[in-house]
Amino acid sequence: MSDILSPDVLLPAVVLVPLLGAAVAVASARAAAATAVITALLTAAIAVLLGRAVVAGGAVTHAAGAWGAPLGIEMHADGVAVLLLVVTAAIGICITVYATSYFRPIFEDEEDRGVRFFWPLWLLIWAALNAIFVATDLFNLYVCLELLTLPAVAMVALDGDREAVAAATRYLLLSIAGSLLFLLGVAIVYSGSGTLALAAIRESGMDARAAATALTLMTTGLAVKAALVPLHVWLPPAHAGAPAPGSAVLSGLVVKAAFIIVLRLWTEAFPGSLLAPGADLLGVLGAIAVLWGSLLALRQQRVKLVIAYSTVAQVGYLFLVFPLLLEAPGPAWSGTMYHLLSHALAKAALFLAAGAMLRAMGSDRLDDIAGVGQKLPMTFAAFGIAGLNLAGMPPSGGFIGKWLLLTAALSSGQWWWAVVIAIGSLLAAAYVLLVLRAAFLQPRARPLRHQPPWQLTAPALALALLSVVLGVWAEPPLLLLGATAPDLAP
């Protein structure tokens, strides 16, 4: 018998527990909510304990079936992975609490809002996210991606109106095509290297041309799922159409998971020499995403759409890492990961706050939410704080990320990326202001449909404040990230 708290147990448990929770939630509609709450607490506790273990004793590896790579599959939790797990857990708990109230009908005649399906779908997504964060095997990543995509698509369609179903359909089809591109890359890698383990691919002496082809295919496939411009078209309607807790998961975490895989492929699986030609292209696409996504966000009339387009822009920021990694690996790596973590928290907070506004006001059109600041101060405060994080304003995690990315760009003489980063943060401030402004206007005669209960206000505020905590208490996570910065030596 293993010690129940040993990292060797915690690591697989962080995937298995939400999976078991999902199975129970599928089996029993009545116990689904309670199961989800218990599962969320357990999973979060496991994530935190695992984080503590990694901080104390370094990275942990678990060989499934005790075979070890390349025969079997390994799970690996390093500093980045545990940070992702812990942030996911924080968002997870907040979303779970939020969802216990969000789906409750306000009016008598409101129909079934699908909460009993929300629970298993959400727990499956959580399991898939955790599995991706600790994955070290290419085909395992493929299965995880599908385990992530199917419930994510269902989440989009959960509210059931035509726009949402259409968005979900588009999301699913593009996503399948992306998965297949990824899988084609896997086939090429397996044939050329005789292994599926990320770390082993690098040492396999694989043909460089085949490696580049495989990497291109996989990156393209993942770019669809990460919604990198020009493959972003599915995202805004999908993320805006999902019920708020679903949007929070999708925008906060699901797109990030695809990006994490891209990053892992480029930095761990393939030699650094492959980075150079593709890196600038990815950077350019990222820059276009930053600008284009922000400009489109500025043109939206609905809060949820503004936030959704903002995700397109923020994903662009992440892809700026590639050209920066070559010249300034330290700050580029830490800055991007930090940006990712704080954006995940902030974006989830924004969608949760927007959902609470929507439920309370009956609309999330910018014209209709005038005066929301006075009517829903807590929700609005959450929105404001999280919004400032997006704009990279201090004190927030987004500011730290921006500082590090600027450092990476300017210390390597690539000032043009610094310009993109700066303009992007200005545009982010502009679209955040679009919403904030409406909230400061004198309230019109639109009455609240109901006063949101604490389950709808506290989670958003908690996540927003956590993103501020990341901005003040940045040294420990940054040290953890710094220790895992990639080694790009050929």
Binding site: A27, A64, G65, I73, A128, L158
Partner: protein, 313 residues
Amino acid sequence: MAFDVALCVLVAGLALRLLTTRDLFEAVILFVSFGLALALVWVRIGAVDVALAEVALGAGVTGALLVNARRRLEQKAPEWLEAAHYRPAAAVLPALCGAFAGVAGLVALTAPRAVQPLAPRILERVPDAAATNPVTAVLLDFRAYDTLLEIGVLVAGITAVWALERGRPAVPPAATAEDEPVLAELVRWIVPLTVMTAIYLTWLGAYEPGGAFQAGALLAGAGVLMLASGFLRPYAPHSPVLRTVVAAGLFVFAAAALATVFAEGALLRYPAAGGYVWVLAIEAVLTVSIAAILAEFFVDVPSAPQQASGEQR
């Protein structure tokens, strides 16, 4: 050799035809044929497990799903089936995409194979695994973690489908044995045979080609037949029994994984003695769950909401 080339030409031709035709019915029929022809390819390659799965799932279940979807579209949105709906997009992008894939594939084709392939290393260790059929050994031992997540994908799929059509009437109208006398007679013969075969396939999986997925597909087919002929009344959508059966596979598999983590120190590392029993037990539960999920995919293609709400009130 010549046979292989001819087979490939046939498969390629089928694919080309079914992707370019304007007739959805033709496309669906061709898709099933395509799947069967592909199964022949798998046999030629020597991948009998895959051939079985292709017939049962790729051609069988997917084909049935397509037929079903087409029928439902015919009922509620016939305009979807009209040729007028055929709007080819500009040809440039598809050509580019095809070319991109082609170039990538050719690079892969001409690239050298791995210096140190994995297959011999796996085959060498199969005797230590919990099944003697190498494919089953990979599926349920070496890479059992993948298979566990894959069951998760199936459960996710059916939950998603359920969530989509939650406006469906509580119990869909069932056919009765009297409606379809010929079918009913057929079912009396086929179903027991199918069930026997499924059990055999599950059991066989440990030694020979076969396993839970193929068996589950067969069982699902039997179930669908019984539903269609009225031998089996469909369960209320997502009724507790159905939900439990669907979830059982994932639950048992994940619980086994957690148990082995505690007891054996590694995820799905089976006890030295009796690993075979574990595998068989897991496979048995999986077979039933998979059958239930696949059958539900077939039954649950959702009806239009107007119709649904009309029946509700």
